[in-house]
């Protein structure tokens, strides 16, 4: 029988990671994922053994794989799920919520659920439809709402760090997009770990060195039930089309995605994307008079303005 063998035990390999020149069977791959993630957490000083970490859970493979890994590694990681009310036709939110709740229950983990529609009176699609920023692109509103609620939950719950399940393909797609537009601000800012400041939890991505295929393989091999269908609004998004493009390059030249992201971080460290007043973004920040979160807006933060029903033409300047 011809097959690729696990380099640890010699059994049939379940996964081949050409970018690392590693082939593993199921057990040795699962073990490797734990070690690899832990070394990312330590190398990038994301958090320590006693840090209370809030994990942003979507019900998808990446966030659940991350939570599972942190739990197995013995970190203090609680989950946070936002029911966005995206249910038209596809029950996307109710299904993903079920996966998140099942996962937490099966491992006896703490999951905080916020039902956006119940708390704020309307679903994300409805909110997006009536605001300037959200018209035709609900993902922008959705991202803003998620960031806001995550910060709020971290502050209220006493978590100093928020962890998200972004994988290397996510980072590569965002980087690709920022480079195509030479978006200097974003290019200077994209990072696997951002430290917190007053009223704002740190943000970390412990899976950012894992290919998307690996997080999917981890979820599959660990038998984690997750929502496979996409958010209906992300269908045809540019980030997905960039991922397909990057995968074509990866197929021809293994390691392309990894080099793209890791060499970018190196270039950034070397000052390639240095913007002059790095403190500039912190200056002019003040607490929002309604919710208290730091904002650069002259008055209320974007979230409070949006929720407050400020007329669309005045909402975003």
């Amino acid at each position: 029988m011809s097959y690729i063998r696990c380099q640890v035990c010699g059994q049939r390999a379940s996964i081949r990671m050409r970018q690392h020149r590693l082939n593993y069977c199921k057990d040795h791959f699962l073990e490797w994922m734990l070690k690899h993630t832990d070394s990312t957490i330590q190398k990038y000083r994301m958090f320590g053994r006693n840090t209370r970490v809030l994990v942003a859970i979507s019900g998808g493979k990446d966030s659940l794989a991350l939570w599972d890994i942190l739990w197995r590694l013995g970190y203090h990681a609680d989950g946070f799920y936002i029911d966005l009310g995206i249910d038209e036709g596809l029950d996307y939110s109710s299904q993903s919520r079920q996966f998140a709740e099942q996962f937490a229950t099966s491992r006896n983990l703490a999951l905080t659920v916020i039902d956006f529609k119940k708390e704020y009176g309307e679903s994300i699609p409805t909110l997006a439809a009536r605001t300037q920023r959200g018209k035709g692109k609900p993902c922008s509103i959705c991202g803003m709402v998620k960031r806001h609620l995550m910060n709020q939950a971290a502050e209220q719950g006493g978590y100093s760090v928020v962890a998200t399940g972004h994988n290397l393909d996510d980072e590569a797609a965002v980087l690709f997009s920022n480079m195509l537009g030479w978006n200097q601000t974003q290019l200077a800012r994209q990072a696997p770990a951002l430290s917190g400041r007053d009223g704002m939890a740190g943000k970390v991505k412990p899976l950012f060195r894992c290919y998307e295929r690996e997080t999917a393989a981890y979820a599959f091999l660990q038998r984690i039930a997750y929502i496979e269908t996409e958010c209906p609004f992300s269908a045809g998004s540019t980030s997905i089309s960039y991922k397909h493009l990057l995968n074509q390059m990866e197929d021809r030249s293994p390691g392309t995605k990894m080099r793209f992201v890791m060499n970018y971080l190196k270039a950034k460290e070397d000052g390639f994307f240095h913007i002059e007043n790095t403190n500039g973004q912190d200056e002019g920040l003040h607490p929002c008079p309604v919710c208290g979160q730091a904002t650069s807006n002259p008055d209320m933060c974007v979230f409070c303005r949006t929720i407050g029903g400020t007329p669309p033409d005045k909402a975003y300047r």
């Binding site: 029988m1 011809s2 097959y3 690729i4 049939r12 390999a13 379940s14 996964i15 081949r16 082939n23 199921k26 998808g60 493979k61 990446d62 993902c139 922008s140 959705c142 991202g143 998620k146 972004h166 393909d169 996510d170 797609a173 965002v174 290919y211 998307e212 295929r213 997080t215 999917a216 393989a217 599959f220 091999l221 496979e228 996409e230 958010c231 992300s234 998004s237 980030s239 997905i240 991922k243 397909h244 995968n247 074509q248 990866e250 197929d251």
Partner: protein, 69 residues
């Protein structure tokens, strides 16, 4: 002389007149990136070097998800 692929609800059959071929070649024939799918046969995750045989049923699990950061 076919190999059957299931991608969610979609069923595709591949018949190249061969009685076996590596997964890598099958994915190329289907025009799919090996980065974008997990291939599973009888509950086992396959690598691109595994050989598929006539009559095999392979489940392809899409791994790409998208959305905002």
């Amino acid at each position: 002389m076919t190999i059957t692929f299931h991608i969610r609800e979609i069923v595709t059959e591949l018949d190249l007149g061969l009685d076996h071929l590596p997964l890598k070649r099958a994915l190329e024939e289907l025009g799919l990136s090996s980065q974008a799918y997990l291939a599973v046969r009888s509950g086992e995750l396959l690598t691109e070097g595994d050989i598929l045989h006539t009559g095999d049923v392979v489940q392809l699990i899409p791994v790409i998800s998208g959305g905002s950061q």
